[in-house]
Every structure is written in structure tokens, then in C-alpha cells.
Amino acid sequence: MPGSGKAVLRAIRYLGSYRLETFGALTSLLLVSVANLAAPQLLRFAIDQGLTPRDWSNVQLAVGGLVAVALIRGLLNFLQGYLAERASQGVAFHLRDGLYAHIQKLSFNYYDTAQTGNLLTRLTNDVEQVRSFVGSGVVQLAASLAMLLGTIILLFSINATLALAALATVVPIFWVLKRFVTSIGPLFGRLQGTLARLSTVLQESLQGLKVVRAFSGEKREVARYGQINDELRDQNLQVVDAMSSNFPFVNFFANLGTVAVVGVGGLQIFRGELSLGQLIAFNSYLAFLLMPIMTIGFLAAQISRAGASAMRVFELLDTPLELSDAADAKPLPALQGRVEFKNVVFRYTGSEKPILKGVDFTIEPGQTVALLGTTGAGKSTIINLIPRFYDVTSGSVLVDGHDVRTVTLSSLRSQIGIVLQEALLFSGSVRSNIAYGRPEATLEEVRAAAVAAQAASFIDELPQGYETIIGERGVGLSGGQRQRIAIARALLTDPKLLILDDSTSAVDAETELAIQAALDGLMRNTSKTAFVIAQRISTVRDADVILVLDEGQIVAKGKHEELLASSPLYNEILGTQLRGKLTEAA
């Protein structure tokens, strides 16, 4: 893959912060190799100088030497493993830390098209791939190469003929391993794909349980699952096949080395060119030849995966932050609440047609603004531009007369309270969820916000009140309850400018009533400027200004009664609700 090598090198550079660990691990590994190579020499010494001439003291010496080598090697092995892991965990920490900080700052624009699962994979699996290669992989690769080279040199120095015979058996091992690595890679890829499909069918049959039963789809689901299951089995059998037709033969060729060494070596002993001890030592070295080859083969498979992962990691890390403070950005002074849009045009990245086509309006401090329009008219876009979640394509957005691009993001956003379209709760207590924007808030403040958001009464009924754990792992809340917690969250920051996207709440009538009461309270509060996207007639009726949007333009502006009389679109949008009233009135 082009660029993958570069990405791996860039990942390796992260080891720079862990020079000591990397260096220590590498040195230890090299010393381990030396110790490994020394052991058979001691064996040879024991046989040739001890056992054959019946010299007991030399046998003792050799045994002592072996034990000493074992101890040293053990210690060094431990050191290399430990240090390499320290380095690799450090690299993972740095990568993840950098990635997380980066994704926290990426703009909404990025997230509009990004997939959560994909981002998560980069931060978990991909980082893990890079980690395991960069830490231990690099060290092992270096050490294996050194070991391989050392063993070959040593073998040749003992006996060149025998060395050639032994090396001859290594060639087919390389060939078998290469064949295995190239065939198993795509096989595993396909296997993963099949597994994912199988899991989708399973998940759908569980989630769509009632649909399956109601439409008598059981047999077809079984057939669908069966087909993929058969595919999976066949692919698994292929993997079994690949494994079983390769690994036994790697062993076979390795053993062939023994045959070659004993056979050729035996003949050499006949001619007095080799001692028995040398022969046995030589045989032991064969294992040292095989080990680094296997390691290199394994790492070769890993390196391509690590390369692909590193590329994905760095691609994310290099995604430019579209929105950041200008060099001369100043903090926004305490907010009054005036909002102006000056001929604002906005187009989403990758989209041809603009979603806002020249929007102009001015809102005075304390006013309540209702935004109304069909889906895609640009309501959400307008409210997303005020806290500068996106930058305008042309024109400008001014808050208290300051262009939002000239003030710091944090000073701007900390003075705006927002209730987003789908209220997201985090795993944690009710309290920490409400205090999300002000983690230091006291319980009294949290309670006050909950009261204002009409959430206090249901929170008090929860098993542990404000300390009840909610979110994914905790107590489930209804849509309306979540919505009210989100409102409390926005209120706690005591913003001068409040933005509410209330367009998709799915709640029953009584909850709706409670939310409405919370909203009414907010909107009558004249100390705050409020922008509300709403479908409810009661919300719009109380607004100071209603902006009716169609196709990215403001087509009507005014109060409820005025628009009722003048704007056909206004009447159409509120259609069903107006009809509802008529039924009631009749």
C-alpha cells in the first residue's frame, strides 16, 4: 500500500520519547541472542572436553556455565519484554491521547459524514495494531535479524560444509511461510466479512423479532442465516486447511536440517573433520535458525496490517481543524444577547447547493425567536452558526456586534446554552449529566436548574435521586425525561443566549405538557435571548419574532397573528395543529 511504509516510520518515530526503554530492550535482546548462541558451545565443550575424554571437572564447568547462562538469559529476556512493552504502551498512550484531543476539536462538519464505529476502530484496533508492532515488533525484528545473521556466521565458522547443508533446508521453510502468509491474509479478510454478515442477520432477527414473527419470516431467516453460516464454515475449513498444510511442513523442513546435519556431519566425523560435540552443538543451532525465521515471517504479516492501521491513524490525526481560534481572537465580553445575521450564505461541505441563501435578521437582547419551516429549510443550520459549530460560507454572524470568527470559541460557547435535537445522556449520575457544562456546580444549583426544567419531580422519584446512574449502563429514562435533563443542563450554565432544538421530541401527552411548561417559563424570561426550533403551536404563539424559512431563505417574519393572516406557508406548516383546534372549537 503506498504511504504505508512512511506511516510505519512515522509511528516508529514515536519511540523517540521512549529512547531509554527502546535502547534497553534492544540491548537486552541482543545480549539474549549472544547467550542463546553461547549455550550450544557449552554443550559442545561438555561433550568434547568433558564426556569424551572423561574429564569430570570440565563437565562440571559446562553445567555451571549452562546454569549461569540460563540465569543471565532469563533476566535479560525479562528486561527486554518489559521494556519493549513499556515503550509500546507509551506509544499507544501518546497516539490515543493525541487522537482524542484532536477529535474533540474537529468541527461538526467532520462529524456530519464521519461514522462513529469507524472512528472508534481507529482509536482502538488501529492504535493497538500500531502499538504491538512499534513496541515489541520493531525490537524483535531487529533482534531476529541480528540472531539470524549471528547464527549463520557462527555455523559457517564451525563448519562451512555443514552450514551449507543446514541452510539448504531453510530455503523451503521461507517458501512455505511466504506461501502461508500470502494465502492466509485474504482468507482472514473474507472470514471477517462473513462473520460480520452473520452477526448482522442475527442482530436483525433479534431486533426485528416481532416483524419476523408477524410476517411468518422465520423459515426465511433460518435460510438466510444458514447460507452465510455455510459460507463461514467453508471459509473456516479453508483456514484449517491452510494451517494444516503449512505448519507441519515447516516442522518437517526444520527436522530435515537435523537429518542433513547428522548425515553430513557423521561423514565428516568419519573423516575426522568434525567432533561429536560440534555435531550436537550444530544441531542445537538449527533451532536458533528457525526461531528468527518464524518471527520474521510472523512480523511480515503484522507489518502490512500495522502499516494500514498507521495510515488510518495518521489520516485522522492530520485532518485539519477547520474551526479554531483566529490568531488575534479575543475573549467575548459578557454577553448581552444581540444576534445579527448579515447576508449569511451557507453550504455544507461536499454539497452543491447552499442550505442558506442570504439570511438577514437582527434579534435584540431578551427576545424570543421561533424558527419555523419544513425539513431541510435551514432552521438547524441557523442555530448551529451562532455558537460557530460551522463557519459561514459568506456573510457574517455577529453576537453583540462581534463577528463570531473574531472571538475565542470557548468564550463564545461558554456563554450560550444549547439543547440539541436529540438529548444525549452520558453514563454517570443525573447530577453529573446536568452539570455537564459546569462540573463544579453545587447540588443546590443543579437542583434549581432541574426545577426550572420541570425535571425535579421525576428526579426525586428515581431510586437514588440526583445520584442515580443513567445513560447506557444505568436507569433508562423516557424521551421526555431526557429532554428535560437536557434543558436543565442548558439552564445550569445560566446563559444569556439560549438555543433550543425541540423538533424531534417523541413524548406522550403528559410529558409534552411538562416540557411545554418548562419552555414557557424560559421564554417568558426576558433576561435571555432565546432561539427555538419548534413544531408546537403554543411555542410559536408566544414568540416575539417568528422566522418562517423555506429553501434557505426567510420568507416571512413577524408575530403569530400577523403570520396567520399573511403567510400561506405558516398556515400550511401548522396545518394539522390548526385543524385540531378547529375540531375542538366545533
Binding site: A46, L51, V59, L66, L71, Y100, A214, D230, P248, L424
Partner: protein
């Protein structure tokens, strides 16, 4: 992929124990029964490869002592030829056995997966009520996966290695029993070392798993909650918190490594010590003329082959424990009773007009807490009955009883006068269609989704159904039209379009009875009016049981049942109930409270 036998593999397998290990093991063995032939054939190969592995070092020793010692060139050639043959035979046998056993394992797993899935399709819906989908999924996936590991990696290798170990032990004892016994003292030391490290590594890895869980939870929230984070200016706090958890994870990993990276050096040390032992004690025996150098060399080879099987056995043991626990859970699914078969004298419903009656129907999951109490009502064919009430009042349960997703605890439900428990489920459901509150779409094309209940439907009928609900224009405007493939969950369609898809699916069935759980989500006005139009098509000419949230369905219903606490507290038409000024009138006013105000 962790190598079986590595300390990481041992540490990462969470130790679980099956309650009835012997029973589960017997049952797993029964799973193997249909594969008797390949398994026994594999056993033969296992024996061959084990014999080969124990024979080879002996041949090497023989060559050194007899052939090299006596300078017998042709003898050496013969020995080497034999050695080659033994290695070749053993490699081939290994290949055959791992292929046979691995293949058998995969076939058993595939058959178990298929049976599990089929069983899930037959289980009563009540089985799923208390089991979160996530749990079931992970059971079916990770438990099967653990079994897979046991079959694919553990057993294939372990069987061969253990037999080889037996062969090696016999060969060693035969060659020189004194030296053999001394060598065997290493085995318990090795087992003790392994279990010492494995226990500590497991504890360390538990900590690692926890911190990894924290990191992923934080990541997930950091990504999913990015809009909140930026809106509430939380990014710096989040980054700091993540850094903390990330560091904790790093530290846990590093300290776990402290243990795991001590393991293989320790084993390695033992192996070198074993060498030293062979040379030391063996050398002493050689000095006393009780051992030849060739045998000593053979022993050196044997000792090296000790370690792998012993380590592997320790790791497979842990794996087997977890696999048995997993298998026990899988068997528990397979043993869960399926929906009772249709009654033996059940009839097929041929034609249905759609008259529904509930006669004193009660229902409860748990006798102490009845969900429905003696519900009675009757709907004439073609009428619409709307169920109104709070969440949890029992509306959904009533709707679920009609297609027999559950059976009533007492009382009788009749369709056209037939007791629904006396007709076959398939024929009952064939006359009904259901639209759930959250429309569910499958991966596949739009056409497949509409035709879910009628897979052989010709394209014209599918298009007609889409036309009937006002979806045809949208679909034919797509580049691939009806063949447009939906991604998971139908995410590319809007909420309103998904709703219409579910309608089209129901329309295609031409059901006599429709069960409709209305969606509550606010949908923009244009889609809303499409849905209203589609609804009136859907409800025309058929009996409908509607869990109602919408004004229009309620006002037009032939019968409104107000459900509270599992009972019908009010019944009648919209006008009658409104006039009565009871609970319905109250609910209605709350929902549309601006009405009176406006009228005033």
C-alpha cells in the same frame, strides 16, 4: 491471534466454570458422535505422528552411537533414510489429523450455530422480554467463539502433543530409566511455575480489562457526545479525563507485562536447567559407563520436547473450562422450551372476515402482577378499535395477544368466532399484518423489505403497495429504484419514510386484520400528511387494532378503549367519551389543550 500456551492467552481467558462440567462435557461429546469416522481416523494419525515424534530422537541417538561411533557409512545412510521417513510420515500424519479434527470442529460449530439460530426463531416472544439483545448476541458469538478456539487451536494441537509426550516418556524410560526419572522432576516444577504465573497474570489482566473498558467507554462517549462537548465547552475537561484513564490503562498494561514477560524467561530457564541436569547427571552416568553419549544426545532432544505439551496442556485446560461454561449457556438456549406446537386438532383459517372478540382475557408474566385483568370487547369486521392510555397500561399487551405473540393466561380470544389457540399460528398470522411503533427494516433492497411477508410477490404488486402508501414516487426517483439497498437499520431513510415502508409491507399482505402501533415521533408536516393519507388507505376495509397516539385515528375510531392498570375503564366513540367528560376527555384536553383556549 495469541498462540495457545502463551501466558497472554492463558491470562486473557477469563476463568469461568460450568455448573455441571461432566454433563456439559458429555453433551459436547455427543455433538461429536456423528463425526465418529473422521475422529477415529484422526486418532490413527495422531498415534502415527506421536510415534514419529518419540522415535526421531531415538534414531538420532542410535545414529550417533552405532553408526558414527563404528564408522558405519551404510548404517548411517540407512538411519538417516529412516529418520527422513519418520519425519515425513509424522508431518503428513500431523497434517491429516489437524485437518480432520479442525474440520470436524468447524462442522460441529456450524451445526450448533444453525441449530441455535433455528431455535431462536421458535422460542416464544416472552423468552426475549427479559433478555437484552446485546446479551444474547454476545452469548451466541463469544461463547461459540470460545468453543471454536478450543476446537481449532486447543484440541488439535493438544491431542497430538499429549500423545507425543506419552511416547517420549516411554522412550526415555526405555533408554535409561534413571536419567528419565531425574528429568521428570522438571515437570511438576514447570506446572507449578505455569500456574503461579497464570494466576498472577489473570489478576493483572482483570485490571487491564477494566481500564480498557473505561477507555473505550470514554472514547465512545467522546465521539457520540461530541456535539454536547463542543456546545458546553467541555472539550478540555474531556481531554484531561481521557488522558487520566488512558494513563491508567497504560500503567495497568505495563504492570501486567511485568508478570507476563517474566514467564517465558522462567520457562526458558527451566529448560536450560533441564539441559544442565541431563548433562550433569547423564554425564555422571556416562562416566560410570551406564550411559552412552548417543543416548545422552537423544535425551537432550527429548527434554526439549517436554515443554510444549506441558505448557499447552495447562493453557488448554483453562480454555476448556471457559468453553464448557460457554457450552452450558448455549445448551441452555437450546433447552429453552419452544413455542408450544399448534394444538393437535388445530384448524387452518381459510378466509377471515376480521371479527375479533376478547372474552374475559387476563394476562400476566408473573401471577403476582397481572398485566391484563378480564378484558372483554368485540370488534366487528372492518372496524377500527383504538387503544388509549398511559405507557404501561397494557395497550401493547392487548395488541400482542391477537396474533398470539403471547397466549392469554385465562379467557378466550376469538377471530371470526374461532378460538385463536385452536387454529394454527401460521394460518392465523397469515391473515394479519403488523406495523410496529419503530418500523424495522432489514438489510436488503427496498423491494425485499416491502415484500418481507410475501417474498414471491411480483414487482407490480410491490409497486402497487408502495403507490398505495404514497412511497412510489420517492422510490422510483432513486437511482436504483426498488433495488436500492438499505444499509443497516435503514439509516438512509427518514423516520417518516421508514414508517411508510412498514405501511407498504402491511398493505402488500392484504390482511383482514391490521395491528398498528402508531409512531409518536414528530414528523414534519408534509410527511405527516402523507402518513395520514396512507393510514386511511391502510385502515380501509379491514379490522384494525390501533395503539393510538394520533388525533385523527382516535376521532375516527369505531371504538375507543381507555386502558388503565390492565383494565378497560372507559369505552365508546370519541364523541360519546368526550361528552361523558371522564378520563378520556381529560387525556384529550391535555394533549390538545390549546383547543379550548383558542375557542374561547
Amino acid at each position: 491471534m495469541r498462540r495457545p500456551g502463551s501466558i497472554e492467552a492463558m491470562a486473557e481467558t477469563t476463568v469461568q466454570r460450568a455448573a455441571d462440567r461432566a454433563g456439559v462435557a458429555r453433551r459436547l461429546l455427543r455433538e461429536i458422535a456423528p463425526f465418529k469416522k473422521p475422529v477415529w481416523t484422526a486418532m490413527i494419525f495422531v498415534v502415527i505422528s506421536a510415534a514419529g515424534q518419540s522415535l526421531a530422537p531415538w534414531l538420532v541417538g542410535h545414529a550417533i552411537d552405532r553408526n558414527i561411533g563404528s564408522r558405519d557409512t551404510s548404517g548411517l545412510a540407512l538411519s538417516m533414510g529412516l529418520l527422513l521417513a519418520v519425519y515425513a510420515a509424522s508431518a503428513t500424519a500431523q497434517r491429516m489429523q489437524s485437518r480432520l479434527i479442525g474440520g470436524t470442529g468447524q462442522r460441529i460449530l456450524a451445526s450448533m450455530r444453525a441449530r441455535l439460530f433455528r431455535h431462536l426463531q421458535l422460542l416464544p416472544i416472552s423468552y426475549f422480554d427479559k433478555r437484552p439483545i446485546g446479551d444474547l448476541m454476545s452469548r451466541l458469538q463469544s461463547d461459540v467463539d470460545t468453543l471454536n478456539q478450543l476446537f481449532a487451536q486447543g484440541l488439535t494441537q493438544l491431542l497430538g502433543q499429549l500423545l507425543a509426550l506419552v511416547g517420549i516418556i516411554i522412550a526415555m524410560l526405555w533408554l535409561n530409566w534413571q536419567l528419565a526419572l531425574v528429568c521428570f522432576t522438571i515437570i511438576p516444577v514447570m506446572l507449578a511455575t505455569t500456574s503461579f504465573f497464570a494466576a498472577r497474570a489473570r489478576a493483572a489482566y482483570r485490571k487491564t480489562r477494566e481500564t480498557t473498558g473505561d477507555v473505550s467507554a470514554d472514547l465512545q462517549e467522546g465521539i457520540v457526545g461530541i456535539r454536547e462537548a463542543q456546545a458546553f465547552n467541555r472539550t478540555e475537561v474531556n481531554i484531561a479525563r481521557f488522558r487520566e484513564r488512558n494513563a491508567a490503562n497504560r500503567d495497568a498494561n505495563v504492570s501486567a507485562t511485568g508478570i507476563t514477560s517474566a514467564f517465558s524467561p522462567a520457562i526458558d530457564m527451566l529448560s536450560t536447567l533441564a539441559n544442565a541436569l541431563v548433562i550433569g547427571f547423564g554425564g555422571w552416568l556416562v562416566f560410570n559407563e551406564r550411559l552412552s553419549i548417543g543416548v545422552l544426545a537423544a535425551f537432550l532432544l527429548y527434554v526439549q520436547q517436554f515443554f510444549r505439551p506441558v505448557q499447552l496442556a495447562a493453557s488448554v485446560y483453562t480454555l476448556a473450562q471457559s468453553a464448557l461454561a460457554g457450552a452450558e449457556r448455549l445448551f441452555a438456549i437450546l433447552d429453552a422450551p419452544v413455542e408450544p406446537d399448534d394444538a393437535r386438532d388445530s384448524t387452518m383459517l381459510e378466509r377471515v372476515e376480521g371479527r375479533i372478540s376478547f372474552e374475559q382475557v387476563s394476562f400476566s408474566y408473573d401471577p403476582a402482577r397481572p398485566v391484563l385483568k378480564e378484558i372483554s370487547f368485540e370488534v366487528a369486521a372492518g372496524q377500527v378499535v383504538a387503544l388509549v392510555g398511559r405507557t404501561g397500561a397494557g395497550k401493547t399487551t392487548i395488541a400482542n395477544l391477537v396474533p398470539r405473540f403471547y397466549d392469554a393466561t385465562s379467557g378466550t380470544i376469538r377471530l371470526d368466532g374461532h378460538d385463536v389457540t385452536k387454529v394454527s399460528r401460521a394460518s392465523l398470522r397469515a391473515h394479519m399484518a403488523m406495523v410496529p411503533q419503530e418500523p424495522f427494516l432489514f438489510t436488503g433492497s427496498l423491494a425485499d423489505n416491502i415484500a418481507y411477508g410475501y417474498p414471491d410477490a411480483p414487482r407490480e404488486k410491490i409497486e402497487a403497495a408502495a403507490k398505495a402508501v404514497g412511497l412510489h414516487d420517492f422510490i422510483s426517483g432513486l437511482p436504483k429504484g426498488y433495488d436500492t439497498v438499505l444499509n443497516e437499520g435503514g439509516g438512509s431513510l427518514s423516520q417518516g419514510q421508514r414508517q411508510l415502508m412498514a405501511f407498504a409491507r402491511a398493505v402488500l399482505m392484504k390482511p383482514s386484520v391490521l395491528i398498528l402501533d402508531e409512531a409518536t415521533a414528530n414528523i414534519d408536516t408534509r410527511t405527516e400528511s402523507l402518513i395520514q393519507k396512507a393510514l386511511s388507505t391502510l385502515l380501509a376495509q379491514r379490522t384494525a387494532v390501533v395503539i393510538a397516539h394520533r388525533l385523527s385515528t382516535i376521532t375516527n375510531a369505531d371504538l375507543i378503549l381507555v386502558i388503565e392498570g390492565g383494565q378497560i375503564i372507559e369505552r365508546g366513540t370519541h364523541d360519546a367519551l368526550l361528552a361523558a367528560g371522564g378520563r378520556y376527555a381529560e387525556l384529550y384536553r391535555k394533549q390538545f389543550r390549546e383547543g379550548p383556549k383558542d375557542a374561547a
